[in-house]
Amino acid sequence: MTLTVNGERREFAEGLTVAALVGQLGVRGRVAVELNGEVLRQAQHPEVTLRDGDTLEVVTFVGGGA
């Protein structure tokens, strides 16, 4: 299935959960995920299964002041 992650279209195996996707992205540390415009709670990450065509934003903290 094709997912759009942070603006990039990528191929993934069917049946992937959000938590599994985050794992595959090689993330160290905490991330927040927005799925099709809705912010997911952390507890939802292992529960929500992704579908072909889903759009995700995966964000993290970076340096910044203002």
Binding site: N6, G29, E57, T60, G65, A66
Partner: protein
């Protein structure tokens, strides 16, 4: 003497708030944070870089046992974008404290105060503790307080400009018209700017570039800490009135002939 900064019922041992951007390295940032004594630290929320696998996260370099994270909505230009960023930040940071920032112009980075007030109302309703970046306009400051913001953060000068406090009179007026803490945010260039903000009666100062961009950032962080303390002490002590002419502090009587 207990003189803690209290925001939304939470006590902070330092009146300095510091950022995490533009440092020469994460290591230097960490040392600056230590030298500054700051207990509130701003961070930005951005897309994860999908091609930078395994890079240590920013939080690795922030002592979260000592410092409270204050995610910002930097470079958001609409209330909707800022609210969306805050919702993501809440999931990232496990707290609902945010530095709200809605900009209106790319060149000056001045805030869009109308959109800032709109976003503040929504966020307060959703249970966020909102610290908004705003202009040095007392009327807007009052609107933000009325919206339920936990502090107001007027600019000293444009973000990153280092121009210092351009309108001390307005900053003093803001301190008079609102009850919530007033934190000067953005535009300070050096320690004396910070001291002036504190002497005006402000409750704190938020800065980033003035430290991160200094030739010796760690030493400047220490200077900012001292300026906060000196300015605050001078404000509490009460300065003498300004006079037009000289007034000797040694006695006139008893001069030798």
């Amino acid at each position: 003497m207990d003189d803690a900064l209290v925001i939304a019922g939470k006590r902070f041992g330092s009146r300095l708030l510091i950022g995490t951007g533009k440092y020469p390295s994460h290591e230097v940032m960490k040392r600056c944070h230590e030298a500054s004594g700051a207990e509130l630290v701003t961070v930005a929320v951005r897309r994860l870089d999908l091609n930078a696998k395994g890079e240590a996260s920013l939080l690795h370099w922030i002592d979260t046992t000592r410092m409270t994270l204050l995610p910002n909505t930097a470079l958001c230009y609409t209330a909707d974008d800022a609210v969306r960023t805050c919702r993501l930040a809440a999931e990232l940071g496990m707290s609902k404290w945010v530095k709200l920032e809605v900009l209106g112009d790319e060149r000056t980075l001045f805030p869009d105060v109308e959109q800032t007030v709109v976003a503040a109302r929504t966020l307060v309703k959703e249970g966020f503790t909102v610290l908004p970046y705003t202009s040095d306009d007392p009327i807007t400051a009052r609107k933000l307080e009325d919206a339920g913001c936990a502090a107001v953060m007027p600019l000293a000068a444009p973000i990153g400009s280092g121009l210092g406090i351009r309108n001390p009179h307005n900053i003093r007026l803001i301190r008079e018209v609102v009850k919530v803490p007033v934190i000067v945010d953005a535009g300070v260039g050096t320690a004396s700017d910070v001291a002036i903000a504190m002497e005006l009666g402000c409750d704190g100062v938020l800065l980033n570039t003035a430290v991160a961009g200094a030739k010796d950032p760690v030493r400047m962080a220490m200077a900012m800490k001292l300026a906060i303390e000196a300015g605050r002490a001078a404000f509490l002590a009460g300065r003498i009135p300004r006079k037009a002419y000289g007034s000797a502090s040694s006695p006139i009587e008893g001069l030798v002939d």
